[in-house]
Symmetry: D2
Subunit: 361 residues, 4 copies
């Protein structure tokens, strides 16, 4: 079997998850190179995962690694630049959320990928998380009648890495980091139905010393098809990751919980190594997660993209979808700034989405 | 022991719960009379519960029954009239939610009670529900640090009684029926902190044929103390009653679920009599609730009011609290009509709260 | 109302629960006196709960307190003596589990109570715990068809009080302390069906330094009606009280969990005062119980007995039932000693039940 | 990549799961042939799964299919014969539980495999189920201190296929079908510690018309290391598959539930296609399982065996382990027949294990 050569940009938290997914579940792909700005970090990562090449220069990686796919796990503000460089070199691209910091970047990324005839997949793993996908199949089978409300939330106590808290690097707070998941998943559940309006409330309640970004938010999204969706996101929720959805239809309801709802339940007087993402402690009661990457859909997502590359298919979630999510995020920040719901389509010229809120606070 | 004499107005669903509470948990009270418009219903109810007197005329009950307390379990549109009649006759009053249909009614009810020196308790049982109260104590003990978000929702598939669906009798839909619980509970949790704004989205998704009232809604309430509260209410959620809260603080989180979170979990091939409020079926899996009135706080609530009457104390939840909830409801309907958050204090001259939405839909 | 006068013997953990039950839920009873061997403890307890009289002499309490009911919350080895003294003085008796240490004691207690024409209730609160009672009603309504298996377990990390660990005072380990609950409840569920055999395995796994009593056990009880019952009991289970049952029938199944299955779920970075019985910590995740006495059925149990006394009824659970439980316990210890199931009826002459195991270990 | 060629014997329920596992998760294996006694069934199965060859003659399959591995998913009574034929032809063997009907068969299977130098893996998927494996890692990391009790149970309402109910084909009832899982998993958790004794109770409570085999049982296994293990198994439990374990140590406890504890929770008025294994209905509330094969460990198990074959490793679970399980089963039936615990090692000459119970009932 001829394996598809993948180069990964980034060597942080999410990259570990991608590597695990490739190595355990996607033998048809081969991670041939890794990039990190810090050469020591790049080298250590490559050694840890037996990746043959490491780089601390993106252009050099693109030129020399022999990769066909670039998997971008970089901080938000580097997304557009890396995508454009890779696309111009004819590499297929899968990129972590959010697609970009600004709509202008998103538009350029999409355009350059199209012009260079490379695939651009927006890596929204919730569109592949098996419990959520099972729920979606039930909906499509009519199990809950006609949908009228969706809820999804992702919450924890805040990222470990510094750049997330610098809004110039991230473009915003928890909505940029985790709200994008809800928005991507709502559109996925609704076959990319049009959003008609967004309302959002947000605040910085826990990490005030560390960031101007919002660390707690609620968004209400109205869709043309009549469905209302509620996204809750927080960097101020303690006790580990929370990732849940609720699906309401005229014929029933589905509750799916990816973390507490899958976990073994453990009481340990002394504690143990690791309970789940962002759990502060494993002493006392804890919810012990297993197959964490698999249950969030990372292997399914990456395997799908490798299949798209190998068999020339269109990814199920594209740059356009990432762009649509970013537009909703813009509208959400604008809504919080204005105190009213914002109609879509929406656009604004800003250096970063969160300015639409901060400048009107 | 000299027992406090109570007359109950109404003989429907909620009256059963009040009677159970008096009979099992409040021996210091004695239900001496019941009123229902339909004399057969009044008589049957009195016989069923061994209540010595029944009436189909409120004035006559007030004049003749010898009651000291009137417990009002009537449809919304009769609240003000019954309260005023009882107050003028010197009776203490405990009244089911919502306090009234309009703010003008509410103001008059409060004024008349004050003028006649009778107590007026707004019967928000969630302020007494023992699991919720346990959670409130934890909050007050600092278990979760500083609150920043509260969520509460009450959902089922819709009332059994017709008048709820007639907005001229009810004043609105699920917000008038169940949203008031969330609003009353938020204020209770926050020591009646001032509300600064309300945003609401609502729709009629399931009972379109039956009512103009909203049957699904989300409200976001911002408080002066910085706390954001989210109320979800639905008459379109199947599978039985859902009554849950989530409490978020800078030092932790509390989840409390009054129905599924208390229930025995049952699988019955043939089904059985009753699983929980509004459960459509008990065949297959069901969540079997127990001590349903107690777990919702009805006995605690009524016992508290009888204690207020016997020992001349001020109720923990008053007509003013009911009026404050109604003001938020007005603002919620206005918000849904305007598509923006509405600042409080808020007032409007309308025949019924829902007009603030329907007239601007 | 003429209130029934109750004297309580004992001032420990379980007495607090009885007092709370009388004071909040049983106004028709009045606790007039408390006994503790230590006069300071008796006095402090009386003051804490506004009990008018305290004694450190049981005979004096019986003679002088004016009580009609004696509620015995003493260590196991004092049960028989206290019961017999109270019965001879014409007092009605409710006694905490287990009924006595030996079958001879049990027989004498029953005989003396009968001779003196006083009621003797065996206080098995699980026969009154509302969630379990709800489950029993479902069974009686046919919700799960014909029963074929019952399971019940009570587990925590061990009693706080020293005498439990001294088998001369307790008569045994966790089976004497908590296994009796399962056995009492099985008989209650099965309308006191005859037990045909018992098998038990047991060991001392955690408190080896502190006791010769078993701190972990499994009992399998076979009933004449074909039902098999499994009791699991432990003093070696960490993380707080566990009290669960499972009910299997040819038409369905019921799961009921009195602690984790009722609790609010809390994450507290700093911890808080109290989560549930025997929880070692409230830091991190905890299961926050509410209305703990009520949910275990103590108020219902004691109210029932007061009603029996006031209205001359036979208690639902009697000394004979306690004696039957003790007989099963004897057989369980004998089974563990013999490595085979033991047929009932069973009797043996021993100083304490656990000897039937220890002497054959 | 040179793929390992696998032939599957059997075309029933479990074969579907094996095929899904190979196709989705084990690209290094290739299913080249399937056998079923009924040629139509074999052909249909091969077509459904795009398997190139089908056979209704085992010898022919072995001789002609070119397989290196034979994966045996046949009824119990065919295990030994198929294994021996395959081994003699030099094929590596992975075999579904139980290893065989009799100890003599088991011994011969092991001997023939050894003589022919082929690998024999006993396919106990619970040794690979990811949630259980996560729990085992915690135990090994000391999260719960020293183990003293293990519990595991597997329960549903009975197999769909007829041969299970014929004890001449199956060798017994639910213990042969599902009790073997618990026994295999206990040994796995305890590093194959020696069993010192077994006690079992069993009965036929639900399928009396259909089988002489036990359909409900409890086994208590004592290990040399002092750990007590309790296995509960049932073909009489309604509402879908139940597969749970509880792990008790001196420093904590772990609860892991593979079905209800992983599922999405759904209410569907109309029902939908499939909720989980053996769920009778999906109307009303149901527990919707996802990635059912993966969560039970089938892909991990089969992938492990293919790795053993490709890289000449010894399987983690071998024929000897399957034989040890069968010995415990013998002892369990003998125990139920004798009403006492049976010491191991144990052997008996019987046509089928269940005779040890039935002949002494």
């Amino acid at each position: 079997m001829n394996r598809t050569k993948v180069a990964i940009l980034g060597a942080g938290f999410i990259t570990d998850i991608h590597i695990e997914s490739y190595h355990r579940f996607i033998p048809e792909a081969e991670v041939v190179a890794v990039y990190a700005r810090n050469p020591d970090k790049a080298k250590a990562f490559a050694e840890k995962y037996h990746i043959p090449q490491w780089y601390n220069d993106i252009d050099q990686l693109i030129a020399e690694s022999g990769c066909e796919v670039v998997d971008i796990c970089l901080p938000n503000y580097l997304h557009a630049d890396a995508t454009i460089r890779a696309a111009k070199a004819g590499k297929h691209i899968i990129i972590e959320k959010p697609l970009a910091v600004t709509l202008e970047e998103a538009d350029e990324m999409i355009a350059v990928c199209r012009a260079n005839n490379v695939k651009l997949m927006y890596a929204e793993e919730l569109c592949f998380a098996p419990k959520y996908e099972r729920a979606r199949q039930l909906v499509n089978d009519g199990a809950v009648g006609d949908l009228f409300m969706l809820k999804q939330g992702e919450k924890h106590s805040g990222p470990h890495t510094d750049w997330f808290y610098d809004i110039n690097f991230s473009g915003g707070g928890v909505i940029m980091d985790m709200g994008c998941h809800a928005l991507g998943w709502f559109r996925w559940m609704l076959n990319n139905a049009k959003v008609t309006s967004v309302y959002a409330t947000m605040d910085t309640v826990f990490h005030k010393e560390r960031t101007k970004g919002e660390d707690n938010s609620v968004m209400i999204i109205e869709f043309e098809n009549g469905v209302t969706a509620v996204a809750e996101n927080s960097w101020a929720k303690h006790g580990g990751m929370d990732d849940r959805c609720e699906i309401y239809g005229t014929g029933g309801v589905i509750y799916a919980d990816l973390f507490m709802g899958n976990a073994a339940v453990t009481y340990s007087r002394e504690g143990y190594g690791y309970a789940m993402e962002k759990a502060d402690t494993s002493k006392g009661w804890s919810f012990t997660i297993f197959e964490e990457a698999f249950n969030q859909g990372y292997p399914h997502e990456l395997k799908h993209f490798i299949d798209c590359v190998r068999n020339d298919k269109t990814p199920l979630v594209t740059g356009e979808d990432g762009r649509a999510v970013l537009e909703i995020i813009y509208a959400a920040y604008a809504s919080a700034g204005a105190g009213k719901k914002i109609a879509l389509p929406f656009s604004a010229k800003v250096a970063k989405p969160i300015d639409l809120w901060l400048d009107h606070k």
